[in-house]
């Protein structure tokens, strides 16, 4: 042993130690090992997700204000919930949100699937087109909000000039962001522009997952392209389309950044989606209890709707 070199000694020690550690780990049950591995994750989850959620639920029953921590907290019961659910302004914000969510999801799904269908045909240069189409979703919503503000500018904005070119109207005769009728559509257009590629990607994955032999069998049976689309393509891609709808629906229900940058909720409250109302109550008015109750209502709404939707999705998948 004394004649061993330094490196050999280290190796030897490692060999001596390894069986004992291995033995100790081997002594733990699978269950204990599993707990050992997932405990850090559970602790993190509890600390940054579950605790804040429970705390928010508690605050939603109180008069607590984050900017007046010294004021005694009073238990209000369900007062905030009652006042929110009977507040016409809140319902107006929910209507704005519903308009935004429904139209963006419909447009993005139709366009996204259409684009995926075209890209799936693998025409010449489809790779470049895919990259070009994907560009908008790679941008930050803050950047998108800012530059669309310029595009919509009535005097210098490209959007107005394009519309003017096709309609013959003067470019400065209408304002997308300042008009009560047009502004809800202005935010829908920007969201559709940005997120249609995302839906396209998911649909493309769905289309590429359909085995070729099914189409070959259909060809043998002399099924028309139209019939193939309705009987093979659409049903088999449907779970993917539904997944894209779910993702976009949830995401747009809590949309804030882009709308805030484009319109700030205006003109008036025309584009004030629920998340803007919530932000104003929570971080401008500092009505922490009130905004906690509103956040819980939004959470339950999204959670409930998403659950119903996931059940429908599972049904489609199991067919």
């Amino acid at each position: 042993m004394n004649e061993l070199s330094a490196s050999s000694r280290i190796t030897y020690r490692a060999v001596m130690v390894r069986p004992s550690v291995a033995h100790r780990i081997r002594g733990l049950s699978d269950r204990t090992l599993a707990w050992l591995f997932i405990t850090p994750t559970i602790v993190l989850l509890l600390a940054i997700n579950i605790f804040p959620l429970l705390w928010t639920i508690y605050l939603s029953f109180t008069n607590y204000r984050a900017n007046r921590a010294n004021v005694p907290t009073i238990w209000l019961g369900a007062d905030w919930y009652q006042s929110i659910l009977t507040d016409p302004d809140i319902w107006a914000a929910m209507q704005v949100t519903a308009h935004f969510v429904i139209w963006t999801v419909v447009i993005e799904t139709v366009l996204g699937f259409g684009l995926a269908y075209l890209i799936d045909k693998k025409f010449r240069g489809h790779g470049i087109w895919t990259t070009i189409i994907l560009l908008p979703m790679m941008l930050s919503p803050a950047v998108v909000g800012n530059f669309w503000t310029f595009l919509y500018q009535p005097q210098i904005g490209l959007f107005n000039y394009v519309v003017a070119f096709f309609t013959g109207r003067a470019a400065s005769s209408f304002q997308m962001l300042g008009d009560v009728t047009l502004s809800p559509w202005a935010i829908v257009i920007v969201d559709a522009w940005m997120w249609t590629p995302y839906v396209m990607l998911i649909c493309l994955a769905g289309l590429r997952s359909i085995p070729d032999y099914i189409y070959e069998a259909a060809e043998v049976d002399r099924a028309s392209k139209w019939r193939q689309f309705w009987s093979i393509t659409l049903p088999m891609a449907l779970p993917f389309i539904m997944l894209a709808v779910l993702f976009r629906g949830i995401e747009n229900f809590k949309m804030f950044d882009m709308v805030n940058l484009l319109t700030g909720g205006g003109p008036g409250s025309t584009t004030e989606v629920a998340s803007i109302t919530l932000k104003r109550a929570a971080f401008e008015s500092w009505r922490t209890g009130y905004s906690s109750a509103f956040a819980i209502i939004l959470f339950v709404t999204v959670f409930g709707l998403a659950n119903i939707y996931v059940k429908a999705l599972n049904k489609v998948k199991s067919r």
């Binding site: 984050a66 900017n67 007046r68 010294n70 302004d89 919509y152 500018q153 009535p154 005097q155 904005g157 400065s172 005769s173 304002q175 962001l177 300042g178 008009d179 009560v180 805030n260 319109t263 700030g264 909720g265 205006g266 003109p267 008036g268 409250s269 025309t270 104003r280 971080f283 401008e284 008015s285 500092w286 009505r287």
Partner: protein
């Protein structure tokens, strides 16, 4: 050999650090005494950086600055104060914050300090003391030193007004000479006259006014009309009694007049304009008139395209009931959570000095000190100095209650809904505002 090199490098580093060698290092920073001043990112802030170099030179205390654009200014710094953050040792906070900051213990009360250092509020313009320093209002409880006087004023294109064709056409249309408007009706006439007119082959518009929805813009704009038409926040004899004051028949007319101005005479796409949009519109030669805070006027006067002889300034014109203007500006306060309060107080003491106040004005800041403003040479010291002085004598401020943010949001929504989004009538908007404000005050436990 390697060890020798390493020792040399460490030794050189230590010597360099000891002598404060390095870019931007000041003697004070070398001593480790540096304080942070928080404010909005705008022209006067640059003047303050310049001015504060004298403080560092005199006291050896280094200065760091945290400037945030106006659109995020309130969000950013109120978050900082509410979370008991110690980023800011000194804060130049908006006048409306004073109630909340005082009641929530976010600002250091300065009465004892003022007394000890011989700083008297009698040395400052009364409106600025009430607006920027006192809480409760009109009581000798001071939470800030008036730092940056400001109010809403107007700029106009002097060169356009001087054009013979403009003068001729205006006289033909309105039967009087074109000139600085004395009343809001005259202002509207001028704005209407320029709306859509061609000047040097370019289509121009009447006026840029505040219409911003997100923070405080439209409230800061519409107030200039409401005050002039007789709007009052509450019954002077019965605090918080708002019925018939906020929604009086005259106030309704004021709101209608503001909407008329917005509809008839603003550039396309001006549905969300505040300070920077106004500056852009004026600097790019789009508008004949611009509503904006005096703080921007030194910069505008220096502008190579629209400044100098081309620009003129005037105070908010009179309405049927009064002539008033919206107070802007801020006081400088010491943040309670600061770990450098002695140094921050030292800065306030230095800033209150007569010479410093004179230099502050000379650099582009707006002093609130009587020694500067009452100097006989002041009105002629800048092309807008006389108007500033006049405006500071007729300012009115928004609520400065602890719940000011909620009160502000309610007005933003009600007014924007009516003026920009065409929702309801002016009477409904102001009645709704009274309802909202009552609910907020009720939640606050106020009796009215």
């Amino acid at each position: 050999m390697k060890r020798t090199t390493k020792t040399l490098v460490v030794a050189c580093g230590a010597v360099a650090a000891a002598f404060g060698v390095g870019a931007g290092t000041t003697p004070a920073q070398a001593q480790g005494k540096t304080i942070t001043l928080c404010w909005a990112a705008w022209d006067p802030a640059n003047a303050l950086v310049e001015l504060s170099k004298d403080f560092t030179a005199k006291s050896g205390i280094g200065m760091k600055f945290e400037f945030v654009p106006w659109t995020n200014y309130a969000d950013r710094f109120l978050n900082e104060l509410n979370s008991h953050g110690s980023l800011c040792d000194l804060i130049i906070g908006d006048s409306q914050w004073i109630g909340g900051a005082a009641e929530n213990g976010q600002y250091v009360k300065l009465n004892d300090f003022f007394k000890k250092e011989g700083i008297s509020m009698d040395d400052y313009m009364p409106a600025t003391v009430v607006g920027y320093s006192e809480w409760p209002k009109n009581t000798p409880n001071y939470w800030a030193l008036p730092a940056m006087g400001d109010a809403v004023g107007w700029t106009y294109r002097k060169d356009w007004f001087a054009r013979p064709d403009v003068q001729k056409d205006f006289k033909a249309k309105y039967g009087r000479e074109i000139g600085v408007p004395k009343t809001l009706d005259e202002l509207k006439d001028i704005a209407q006259f320029f709306q859509g007119r061609e000047i040097d082959g370019k289509k121009v518009y009447g006026a840029s006014i505040y219409t911003e929805r997100g923070s405080e813009g439209i409230t800061m704009g519409v107030s200039n009309y409401l005050y002039d038409y007789g709007f009052k926040y509450d019954d002077p004899k019965k605090p918080y009694a708002m019925d018939g004051f906020v929604n009086s028949a005259n106030a309704v007319k004021g709101l209608e007049a503001y909407k008329e101005l917005y509809k008839c005479c603003t550039p396309p796409g001006a549905s969300n304009s505040y300070m920077s949009e106004g500056l852009d519109a004026f600097k790019s030669g789009q508008v004949a008139l611009q509503m904006n805070f005096f703080a921007f006027f030194p910069g505008l006067y220096k502008d190579p395209n629209v400044g100098g002889d081309k620009i003129g300034f005037f105070v908010n014109p009179a309405g049927p009931a009064a002539q008033a203007t919206q107070l802007g500006g801020q006081g400088i306060s010491v943040v309670s959570y600061s770990k450098n309060q002695p140094e921050a107080l030292q800065y306030i003491k230095w800033f209150s000095g007569g010479d410093v106040q004179k230099k502050w004005w000379a650099l582009g800041g707006y002093s609130c000190a009587k020694s500067v403003l009452n100097d006989p040479s002041f009105p002629s010291s800048a092309p807008f100095a006389k108007e500033f002085l006049q405006s500071m004598g007729m300012v009115v401020d928004f609520w400065a209650e602890p719940s000011y943010a909620q009160l502000l949001q309610a007005e933003q929504k009600r007014v924007h809904d009516y003026v920009v989004a065409d929702k309801g009538t002016a009477q409904e908007a102001l009645d709704g505002l009274v309802k909202d404000w009552k609910a907020i005050f009720k939640e606050e436990g106020k009796k009215f």
